[in-house]
Each structure stands twice: as C-alpha cells, then as structure tokens.
Symmetry: D3
Subunit: 256 residues, 6 copies
C-alpha cells in the first residue's frame, strides 16, 4: 500500500491492524559518467514499493536527498549536512507514530545515510517511541553480490549499474561503462584509501577521479533482476519478522 496514493479515510483500516511502515530513502548524487544522480533513491523506492505491493505493508513517499557531502566535487550532487538530515528523519519518524506506527524500516540505498539512521533509530528506541531499523539491499545478499561480480565497488560499480539497467534502463549510458571503469578505480583494494590503519580520505574525489569504483563492464540488466528479486525476498522476510515481534521485545533490554 502506497501512502501517497491514498485518501485519509482509506488508511484507517491499515493503521487499525498494522503498525509497520517502509520509508524509502536514498540520495541525489553523482554516480559516475554512466549512471543518473537519482540512482540511490530510485533503487530505494523500487524496493520499498515492490515489497509494499507484495506484502500489503505501508510504503511512504521517498526522501530523495540525504548525506552526500562527500560527493560535492561532482556536478549536481545534492546534500544536506548530517545534523539537518538526522533532525529531518527523526522528526518524520516520530510523527509517523501519531497514526499508530511503532516500527519502521528505512529502505535505504545510500551508505552515507547509514550512521545517521542508526543514530536516529537508537534515540527513538531508547525513548520508546518507535523501533526503526535501516536496511540496505546489498547487505542482505552479500553472497550473491560476491558471486555475480569480481569487483563490485562500493559506489557506482557494477552492482548499482546492474540495478539501474534493470529498473530504469534508459537512464544508463551503456556506452560509457568501459570509461567508467578505466577512468575510475576498478579495484578498491588498489585505491589505498587507508594509511596505517587510518582512513585518510573524506571525499569520493580523494579516491577516484570520475567518482566511481569497481568494474562497470561486468553489469547487466539480468544481474540487476536477480539482485532485485533476491533482495526483495530478504526485505519481505524482514517485514514479516518485524511484524511478528511484540513491541516490548523491540525495546531496549533492562539494566542487568
């Protein structure tokens, strides 16, 4: 069920019987010469909508702009500073509870949002307002990701490329995949992003000239479909697990 499409009286039944919401969120940021800036929020929205359709759980509209300051050197990257992002997400989530929601899955497709969603989620749980957790599609199917790609790259690599080739094929510049690889950082290990144990970089531009890592030529729409289906299954399972928990069991444990 997609909240944005519904008139308010038609949501009453849902809130009477369910208390789970899927909140898709991603980023609007450079994804190399071959992928659209919308990549992350398109992926997040696709998963959240798909799983809402399959399960009947409520999906909200998407938060399109997140914490992407580390891509600021590339044209078009949009972002908000971390405190603004956390405040926005915390407020949005707290207010969802006005309707009876007490458990939220942030269907997130942008790594830069993760620590902030974790911080917000910890606070909401500690306050016993809601139990909100963050889910990244690729972390739900690590074995399949490893199996499909030699060098998947953490950003703009074949993993995300395959996904957009499947979801929004017209937005991929297939003719630039080779350049994406050759002018970027095909192998993350070679990037030497860590010096003596310290991450000495802060921005993507510190590591890669074209904004991406991994071997994009290894991508395909079929792989994207496989990934999408496998990860959707995981998200369905997560929804079912979450729905089955008594709220008390989701709250912090007592002091020893």
């Amino acid at each position: 069920m997609y909240l944005g499409d519904e008139a308010w009286p038609d949501l009453e039944t849902y809130f009477d019987s369910e208390s789970l919401a899927l909140v898709p969120l991603g980023s609007t940021e450079q994804h190399g010469p071959h992928l659209p800036e919308a990549t992350d929020h398109l992926i997040a929205e696709a998963f959240a909508r798909e799983v809402a359709d399959r399960t009947g759980y409520l999906c909200t509209p998407t938060v399109n702009i997140g914490v992407s300051g580390h891509h600021r050197q590339f044209h078009g990257t949009m972002w908000v500073e971390p405190p603004a992002f956390r405040s926005y997400m915390e407020s949005l989530t707290r207010n969802l509870t006005a309707h009876g929601i007490d458990r939220v899955i942030y269907v997130n497709a942008h790594g830069g949002n993760v620590p902030h969603l974790r911080e917000v989620g910890a606070r909401l749980r500690q306050d016993e307002v809601a139990y909100a957790i963050e889910w990244m599609w690729d972390e739900s199917i690590p074995d399949l990701v490893d199996e499909l790609f030699e060098q998947n790259g953490p950003h703009g690599g074949p993993k995300e490329t395959s996904m957009i080739q499947f979801l929004e094929p017209t937005l991929v510049h297939d003719d630039r995949l080779q350049d994406a690889r050759d002018e970027g950082v095909p192998s993350v290990d070679d990037a030497e992003t860590v010096k003596h144990g310290s991450r000495t970089f802060y921005d993507a531009a510190d590591n890669t000239d074209n904004g991406v890592l991994g071997d994009q030529t290894d991508a395909s729409a079929q792989k994207g479909r496989d990934l999408f289906e496998a990860a959707s299954d995981q998200l369905v399972a997560l929804c079912e697990w979450l729905d089955a928990q008594p709220f008390e069991d989701l709250l912090p444990r007592d002091h020893v």
Copy 2:
C-alpha cells in the same frame, strides 16, 4: 532538465552557463476523503518538471514531506517539525551553490511551508549565499482562481481537486466530491476561524471535520488544465525574470 536523470558529466554545461534551479516541494498530508495524500507534492513536481522542460532550467528531485503538523489528526499525514524543515531546506540550498547555483525557486504547493521557506530565503540572501524565493501556483493566478470557483477553499477544495483530476485522475475519488463538500466546510467565511481578530485555531481539525474546505463539486479536469497552463506560464515568466537579474541586484540593499 531534470537533475535526477543526468549523469554528472552531462550537467557541466548547464552549470557553466546557468545558475538557476527549480526545487519542487510539497507535503504528504490528508487532503480530504477524495484526494490523495500526495496531492501537494504531485502538483509541485508537475509544475517544476513542466517548466524545466519548457525552459531548459534545471529541476531537482522533490522534497515530499514538509510542515504539516496541523493535519496530524487525519490518518497518514506525514510531517517534520518546523526547525527540522528549515534546517533541511537551508542545508540543501546552501549546498546547491557548490555547483554555481545562486538563485533558486522553491516550487512549493503547500501553504504550511511558506513562512519557513521565507525565513530560510531571507537568511540565505542576507548571507549573500543565494537568492531563493518561494512560488505558489495559485498565488500566481489569483484572478483565474476566483473566476473558476465560487468557493475554492484553501485546502482540498475545488482548486486542488481540479489540479489532481488533470494531473493524476485515477487518484481522485470522484464519487466522494459531494460528501467532501457536505461534511467539510463549503464556505470558508462561515468557518469562523478568527475570533475578535485572533486566529484561535492551530489545526485543520479545529475548523473542519473531514479536513477540507470549499466546494469540491465545482472541480473538473478541464479547469485543472486551465489552471496548470496559466500558472506554468507565470512560472516560466518568473524564471526568465530571475535569470535576467544580475546577482548583485538580488542581494540586500545597502544601509541607507
């Protein structure tokens, strides 16, 4: 040009030659028994995309959730508190300037966002970071709105109903228009929302039982089309005016 669809190298020409961005934003909130909760952000996005297509100016992804706490009593309304909204919008706008944007039109379709966008815009201008102004479609064509509707209502009335009938007809419950009117507040003047000069209400629910005001039966998709075209013309004209100003002329005037 829609930022979300583009890969970063393809935005370089735009940023080299232009410095204007259209940022659509609305709300996700109850719009009565007949309209979808997405109403405001659908309208905002439609205008911003249309005008971006017609003029070539850059349109960003949409901010879907705004300041709607005054609709909290109705199922599904989503919102963030004003300080969170202002921080998010100010941060987002400041960061757009990293690419050379120095003038922004908030294509806004939700009245509750207005004072906050004005506050953010005033700060950005005072800091000489950017000149950002807020635009509401209905305020750009007040005469046409008055001409088309007897009782247009400030929220969920025939004005917004017509617009969604035109833009997203499948999302309107046409069979509920009469109920929307009869169980709401057909005439705003009758609502007695002000007592002895003081607005004694804070929430929509203080004034209306079903969340809407105005006579929804007066709406039609054709009226929606007329409104959309007339207001789009206004937004095009605003873009052209704004683009033509030297940046210095947009900054605060000197002390007398």
Copy 3:
C-alpha cells in the same frame, strides 16, 4: 492588573482564581521619518494595559524587541533572529505556567512576529503546556480600518500614525507626514511587491525608500482614538471568550 507593579504576595489571589495572561510585544524598528522606533511596542503595551485595567486580567511587562531584520537598512532598527525570538518567547511562556497560567494572549503589534508566535503557540498547545494565541489590533477591526483610510499601508501608514498621534502625540513629527507619503509608497498595490505570484522582496527597503507605505496625511489623533477604543473592545471580548473556555477545549482535538 500589571504584574510589574505588584509584590509577589499580592499576586496570589489572581493566580488562585485566574489563569489568563496578556503579554504585550512589539518591535523597535524604523517607522518612517515621522514615527518613533518604539511605535509597535508602545501600541502593544497601550492595548494590553488598557484591557488589563478594564478587565482585571493580568498584564506582564512588554517584550520590546522582536523580529525586524527586514528593516535593517534603516538607522536604529533593533532585532533578534527568528530562532532567538522563538526560544525567548517559548521559554517565557512555558515558565509563566509555573504560577498556574494556562492561556496567554500575545498582544502583538508587529506583523513580523506573527509566524513565530504562531509556531511557538502551536508547540505549546501540542505539548499541552499552555494555549497561547496571537492578537493584532488592526486585524480585529478590519472594517473600521478600511472605512477610515483609503490607503492604510501595512507599515508606518496612517493606521499606525493615527494610533501614535493618539497615544504619544509628542513623538509624531506631524510636519513630515506629507514627505512620509511622497517619498514612500502611498499605494501598496503600486509597489509591485509580487512578481508572477512570488514575493521577490525580503526587506522593507526593497519596496520603499523611506521605510513606509500608505498615505500618512490621512491620519489623525481622533481616528487613533476610534481605532484604540474599537480594538480594545475586541480584545476585551477575546479575553472573556478565552477565560470562559475549559482548558480541555483549548487543547488539540483527538485523532479522528
């Protein structure tokens, strides 16, 4: 009853039997070549004191400096930024409840404070701490204002001029009224403050060279007296209405 004049034991009876307070607040900002910078807070204080005298409700000392950054280009304008103003007013109001106050009328004479007082009032009500509403004298008597003046002007016009001529005649430069009109913006409609539906100005100086709008030559102390009496009656009526409400009825309505 004026709080500032009383010793604490003499307030006990009031707090035992009443729970309403009048908080006057205005601004210290330019009001053209003819009016004093204190204009707004003088007016606010005069209304609050008058009505407190007539009704016996409690009037607090005045908040003299508000949100007037949009008058910054003119000598002597004092202001605080909106977040500071909101925090100050919210804290002041919350703390009044320590003595049993649960309903507050902000007797406000400065338009620039309005959205901020509304934001504070909404928060206090939502938290069920207090019900605080904002009142502007001229909005309580719109018909009389329209009847008395052709061009009343939103700032430093004949409306405010008449009021100060009545309240503090020695502070008005009667010999400058014609200049005030001729070097300012006599007719607001002519000022073209809105372009294609967007308010493209942020500061008073964007619209008017001498800081004022309206036809000041239309002012008189007698008109000021009429306005003062008529609006005082309205404020008395508002106090009585407010006092008569059970506190529960002033709180937010339940979720549908």
Copy 4:
C-alpha cells in the same frame, strides 16, 4: 538620546559620530513582600536613561525579562532559560552593529544575568563583532553601599529598597519593611548557603522563605538618591572611558 523616541532619520547623526549604546536590562521577578516584580528593570532603565540624558549616548529600550528561574517558587516571577536569554541578547547585540555600534554597555540590574552577559560579551569580542560589557550599579560603588547599610542583602534588601523608594515610591510597601526583614534572612552570613565550600542551594527559596535577604528597615529614599547619583557618575565615567578607546584596543590581545 533614547532610541525608542526617535524617527530613523534623526538617528543618522548619532551613528555617524558615535558607536556606543547603552542597553538596559533587568528582570521581572519577586523582590519580597515590599517591592514590585519590576524592581530590577526599573532600576536598569532609570540608570541607562539618566546617563543617556546626561551624556548624549544612545539608550535602547529595555529587556525586561531575564534569567530568574531561581525565583520560580514565588508568584509572578517571569524568566527565560539561560540558552534562550543568551541567544536573544547575542542576536540583539550583533544586530546593533548594523548601524555602526561597536561597543555596548549592558546596564544590568539583575545578578542572575551576569554570567550569561559575560558569555555573550566574550563571544562577540572574540568574533571581533563588538565589545560589550556588563555593568551593575552596586558593584560600581561598593564602598558607599557598605557605608550606608549594615546588612544590604544581595536580593530585595535595603539597597534595592532604597532605590525603588527613590525612583518609584508608590510601588514600595513601606508598611511591610519590618516583615520583609523578620520573615526573610536579615543577615546573609547566617543563611549558611554554603556547605563545606559548595553552594548547595540553587533557588532563592532554598535560603529564604519570603524571597529576600538583608535588613529592609534600613532603607530610605534619600539613600536611594545618594546611590543613584553616585552610581550614575560611575556609569558616565565608564561611558567616557569606553568611548575614548580605539576599537582595536578593545579587541582580544594577540597570542603571545
């Protein structure tokens, strides 16, 4: 010169030639059974106005409500929390610099404001925005205070009583002076406010049942006049000293 009385064009000469402002501020809080709640801000305003009249320096309107949470147990005390007070005062002072003010004397008559004004002043100076210092009348004439009173008391004692007897005699309950003394804490030393080196109290009510300390029967209007004149002389001298300093000399010293 009193800013509130002036029209903006009449302030131009001052700002062209001077850069000092006197900002009176006090509190609205209980001052025992005999003194009005306005005591502190009346005193502050009287000094600032007097010295502005004598010297020609600019005096602004008064900030009437300050940091008085430690008097919360007594009817009528108004206060804002320290962060709100600091933000308000810092914003107000920063904005005064728009007109050329670069040195400010906070003519303060409430001890509870002191650390906060010091914090604000330190920040403004460090930022090289303005040099703002805090002045308390009684700290400018410690010898005279000691000479006139055996037990002056830090709050609501004969020192403040004398001052209000002189400035606003109708607001003093002379018939309650003996009770004020006998039901309060005549001798501060006896109050045992410190235990083993630690101030174990936070509120006035922790130390005194009627809110005051000192021997109020020792007060007189004549003593008030003497204090007022002596301290006014000190404030005049401070203004002159401050005016004579080059701004650079008021800024922080360089790193060694």
Copy 5:
C-alpha cells in the same frame, strides 16, 4: 572506589547501596611559566581519588578539558566553548543516573567551569533527574588559604603552586617562581581589572603578561600538603552530608 579500575560486575554492590558519585574535572590551560598545563585536572583528580579512597564513594575518570578560552593567548591552552562543555557535562551526568546515581559532586578545580556547572546542576535538579553540585577545594578552606598566603592570586598563584609542589613536585619549575611573580601580577588589587564597576577584561592576557597572579615565592610543598588535607576533610564532610539527605530534600522546594 575508582570506577575506571573496576569490571562491571564488581560495581553492582556499590550501585545497590549507594547513589553518590564524585566526578573530577579541571582544565588543561596555561598556569604561568612555572606550573604544568595539567594543573587543574591534576588537583581535581587528586582530591576526588583521595576522598573516594577514604570514604568508599565512587570516583569516575576525570574530565580533563574545560572552559578555558580566556587563556587562549598562551601556548598549549586547550578548551571547549561553553555550550559544548555544558552539553557534555549534562549528558554525562544524566547518563550516570542509569545506574542509580542521583547525587553528584563535581570535584572541580577550575573557576572557569563554575557558572556552567551551576547551570547544568540547576537544570538537572529542576528536571528531578539528579542533584549535582560543584565543589572547589579552595572555597572550602578560605580561612586557611588566607592564613597561608599574603597574595594567593586566583590563577597560578602560590595556592596552586603549593598544591602541585605537593602532588607532582617534578612538574613545578621551582627556579621560575620569582620570575612568575615579577613578570605577572603579584597583587590582584593592583591589577585594576574592574573599571567603574564593570569587569572590562575577558581574557587572562588582559590582566597579566605571563598568565598568572599572586606571589608564587610564597608557595611550598608543606603548605600544599596542609591545604590538601584540610580541603580533603571538607570534601569528606560534604560527601557525608550529601549521602545523608533523602533525595526528596534535595529537590526544588514547592511553589509558595
């Protein structure tokens, strides 16, 4: 008992039977040419550990860096801004209550922290979260301090010098004591730090060229020992007094 040395199961008995914690905190800041920058936190830690050893009360690890911006001109001074310090201390103290602590003594050896600890303590008490008070060793034994030194100086004087000579003799440059005195401000009264009642300085460097005041040649390790023992006795007594109070008696008094 020192919290840092214990494994969590070994703290259970303490928290079951006691609710008091000693939190040492000082500063890292210049203390003249003869004393180490750690002076204040070394002293605070020594007192807190000593008294914890003697009484069995819990001592936490030390907060080493406080509010010392007024020493910024001297090499090596470390500090945080007041809002950061207050947030850190308030959060730290609130969280201690998770284990049952409801009364805290800030064993503080830096005057610059005092108003901030008072502000935090007032808030915690008002919220009925904890009763936290601040203790300075020298304020617990004013007579002994006066007896031992002619000119003890508020910063880096013989009082602190003696203490470090006793606690950490190898960190004192005994050969620089005479220079410390002669190039600093031997007599505080001579420093003219106040002009006409106003403290016109903000930084130590405004008053003293080498950062210190007082006559350091008057210091000795034996005096340090005497001071340490006398003040430790006071802190023991304070702990015992505090432990003996019912928690209700430590909370704010009721409104009159």
Copy 6:
C-alpha cells in the same frame, strides 16, 4: 612531548616548528567481567604517549568518556549522547588551532566514537580549519590480529584483553577469562546480529549477556606486547606521513 606536563613557555618551540597533535580518546564502559571500565581510554592513552615519546610529537590529555550508550545496561558505563560528543570534540579541535596546530590524529580506542570523529573531521576539513583523522590501533594491524586470535571479538575479546594484560596487568581478572568466554558470545558469527541484511540490534546487551564477544582465554600479555609494538610502529608511520604533507594537500580537492 606531553602537553599536560609542560609550562606554556616550554611549548613555544614545538608550536613554532610543528603543527601536529595526537589526541587520545576512548571510553569508560563495561568490558565484560574480566576487564576494567577504563580499558579503551587506557589503551588510547598508552599508544598516544608511547608514540609522542618516540617521535617528539605533541600528545594532549585524554578524553576519557565517549559515545557508549550502547553499553548502558551494564553497571558503570559512562557516556555522552552523540551530539554532545561531537560538539565537545569539534570545539576542542578547533581551539587547538589557536596555537598553530593544523593536523590532528585522534588516537581512538573505541569503535563507538568512530562515525562521530569522522563527521567532526569532515567538517573541520571542509571549513579548512584543520585536517583531523581517526586512528584505531587494531585497524592498523589487521593481519597480525587475525594471526594471533581465532575469535578476537569486537568488544572485550582477547585482543583488548591481551592489551590490558600487557599495559595494566593488575586490572585484569585472569580468573574470569573462561567465564567471560562461556557466558558471552565466543564466536561473533554465531551471534546472528544481522537479520536479512539489517542490523536489528542497537545495544551490546541485545547480543551478549555479559557484555563481551570473542574467546578471552586466547589472550596473553605477550600477545599484548606484540600488538602494542606493531601498532605503535604504524602510528609512528602515520605521524610521519601526516607531518610530511603540505597543508594544501590535506584540504578538500577542487570541484571537477
């Protein structure tokens, strides 16, 4: 060179010739039944002091209390909320630059601090105030850690146990190592901390009953020594690398 031990004149040479500081920081939190709560800050301080001794770079006093809310269920854990921690660390670091420091290594031994130090570091770099990076000893020698331990555990495991056995042997309860393992979570993989790709835990107590993971019986002081020496070498190398960079090279790269 240890800042805390020095008098300010003795730091002048360092600041004249060097611009690097080592800031040790850890946590005070439960580390199982066998390790002291000080574990993390003891380790951090040991590394920072050792490397400062070996290289001559400046080491500051330690920040002992960090972000450890996820250990709140266990007696004695101290923590500050993330916003307070970030403000404290950002302020502390900004202020270090007053003396010429422009590069900082946070010698951090607590994983919970990492995202917050990264956020602070990114902001400081973006503002071109300082280049501050975070270093964790175990991340500098991943191969050695893997080689020495089968199940090192992320918290309170044999890695940290060995380190304290080497650094502070009297603080380790060697007789509890077997219990630590058997009542905790010997193998992290078995802990099922992630469900369908989502980390569904927030607190350590969600995963482990005694607060620790890994096989503590695999620890030894000799392994601790080996780890300490190897990681110290890495930190020395990091200092040397960092010192060798021109400051411009440490700043953000230009926009493409």
